[in-house]
Amino acid sequence: MRKYVNAEAMQHAMKLLQLGAKVQQFNGKMCFVEFEINGHKLEYAYNINRKNKYFLERIKPYPLPLKVFESEKDVIELIKIDMEQYKDAMKSKNIDEFIEITTEINIIQKKFEDLFLYYNISKEKADEMKEHIFKIDEIINEIQKESKRVNFLKEPDNLKTEI
């Protein structure tokens, strides 16, 4: 098995080098972690290697790159917190809406990328999109102000809490 992986890696490296990339390859292990919480799957993937770089990604309920870590202890800690938060969130009556909205946001992000890469967008249309995004951001901030905080495991990564 290892020999096939090596052969494939050799092929990738050769193609990428010709494209002008700097390629580093090192041995490691891919770890797939799966939890099942109230019928919902929560999955993560990360890589263990001797270079002490751990790429952690959440696969389900929707894909999200989480972080690059220096120690495997941090990886487990973050999975633990993420899982606990999801456990609480899964109890919420809005969980299905939450997953649906997040999945939609992911799809929209991908669509926007396609739009940007494949079409020449006018400045007006780009501004129009920006306006909508700001509006959504405002709604998020409003909802945050109006809602009661229920999770104190750690501070949110992206929302400002000193209101």
Binding site: R2, K3, Y4, N6, A7, E8, M10, Q11, A13, M14, K15, L17, Q18, N27
Partner: protein, 424 residues
């Protein structure tokens, strides 16, 4: 030894080989299991079992695997492949010829599977760039890998086993097998040209993409490259002169490996993990299994029957060994086959006044060239088939057989003429 005991040993041996052929269980697992049963049944003691393991073969394999494991990190194969493609100016047939020469030479110095694992990925990059079906490139490569490996002591595991058992050195193989291998290579390439030339077409744009490739950036570590190639050259020189200095070939390979590990400063753990330990343990288990047959006298009986069958005639015995080895190796793993044949050939030598040297060459030519007969005939073929399938270009058993089997017959026929003219 009681007759019932002999029957049990033969049954275990046949059952083990049967399962190896069926591929129902990994060959190393079942070979180790068979060998351990022989020990449990006291067919041979642990000490006798260890004595039957040819550590010259094992050491040679491990030593070369370490040297190749370090050398491959330098990107030298990628460099050679791009250089060859550019030298051929992107012309598909010329690239096939140049890559086939590279493969044959590399295969003569490294084992076939390693050569294929190094040459196929870079070939696939070239065929992808040329937007051309890789089958026309990979079939010639795997055929010439098996042919090139026939030429030297270290080119193919059967030769390593034969050389070690028969006390034949690196130069013995070069002098006796290289000439016929060169003839076979030329004939096979000529036939392959007739088969594939018309199907090879590409665009000028694709050729230009090949010419735009930069071989220099393929070299990942120039200092390591110099060290690796230096040690590889010294090791090959060591193989050439090892008999004059009273060294076994394994000593030369392990010395090269140790020197390269020392001067390259590569983490040994990273290299040792690349050694094909299943192959190494497969060899060790096979030596014990065949050793068990020797212990109970089965090999002696078989040798006696062979001598009676051929009346001790060297011509008939050589031709039987050559053709039986070739046909058997076309469909079976040639390593267990050769492991069994070695004591048999020795037995024939002990029982008759025959000069058995031609028999060793017949065994080497038959077992190595026979591997080209079918897709399952050699591990290198299986590896290429797997890589092609992964790449989206499947080659069926029959598709390969239509090309490989006739070409194998041609190469064994050339070998027959060569043996008749020079040895019989």
């Amino acid at each position: 030894m009681e007759e019932s005991h002999v029957i049990i040993v033969i049954s275990i041996f046949i059952a083990t080989y049967g399962i190896i052929i069926s591929e129902k269980i990994h060959r190393t697992t079942i070979a180790m299991f068979g060998a351990v049963i022989m020990l449990m049944l006291h067919v041979l003691s642990q000490k006798a079992a260890i004595d039957h393991i040819d550590f010259n073969t094992i050491g040679l394999l491990i030593g070369m695997m370490i040297i190749v494991g370090i050398t491959r990190r330098t990107g030298v194969f990628e460099y050679i492949a791009i250089k060859a493609a550019k030298t051929a100016k992107g012309d598909p047939w010329k690239i096939i010829v140049l890559l086939s020469i590279v493969t044959a030479v590399a295969s003569a110095l490294l084992d076939n599977v390693t050569t294929i694992l190094l040459i196929v990925p870079v070939t696939l990059v070239i065929t992808d760039t040329l937007e051309i079906n890789p089958i026309a490139f990979l079939i010639p490569e795997v055929l010439v890998a098996n042919i090139g490996g026939t030429a030297t002591l270290i080119g193919d595991p059967p030769n390593i086993m034969i050389g070690s058992a028969a006390n034949l050195g690196f130069m013995d193989f070069i002098i006796n097998l290289l000439p016929v291998v060169v003839i076979i290579f030329i004939v096979i390439m000529f036939i392959l040209k007739i088969i594939y030339k018309k199907s090879l077409s590409t665009t000028e744009e694709a050729k230009q993409r090949i010419l735009n490739m930069n071989e220099k950036i393929a070299i990942k570590n120039e200092l390591l490259l110099k060290k690796s190639l230096g040690v590889l050259a010294i090791t090959i020189l060591g193989f050439v002169v090892h008999e004059s200095f009273g060294f076994e070939s394994a000593t030369v390979a392990l010395a090269g490996a140790a020197i390269l590990l020392l001067i390259s400063k590569v983490e040994p753990e990273e290299i040792f993990v690349e050694i094909e330990w299943p192959t190494i343990f497969f060899f060790m288990a096979l030596f014990v299994l065949v050793g068990s047959l020797e212990e109970v006298g089965v090999i002696e009986i078989l040798a006696e029957k062979m001598v009676n069958l051929t009346n001790g005639n060297l011509f008939i015995t050589t031709m039987i060994i050559l053709w039986v080895s070739a046909i058997a190796s076309a469909f079976l793993d040639n390593i267990p086959f050769v492991a069994t044949m070695i004591p048999l050939v020795k037995g024939i030598g002990a029982m008759s006044a025959m000069n058995i040297t031609p028999l060793w060459w017949a065994l080497a030519l038959g077992a190595c060239l026979g591997g080209n007969g079918s897709i399952v005939g050699a591990t290198a073929n299986v590896v290429v088939s797997g890589m092609l399938e992964k790449h989206g270009n499947r080659i069926s058993f029959v598709d390969y057989l239509k090309i490989g089997f006739p070409l194998m017959i041609v190469s064994v026929a050339i070998s027959s003429v060569y043996l008749i003219v020079f040895y019989l």
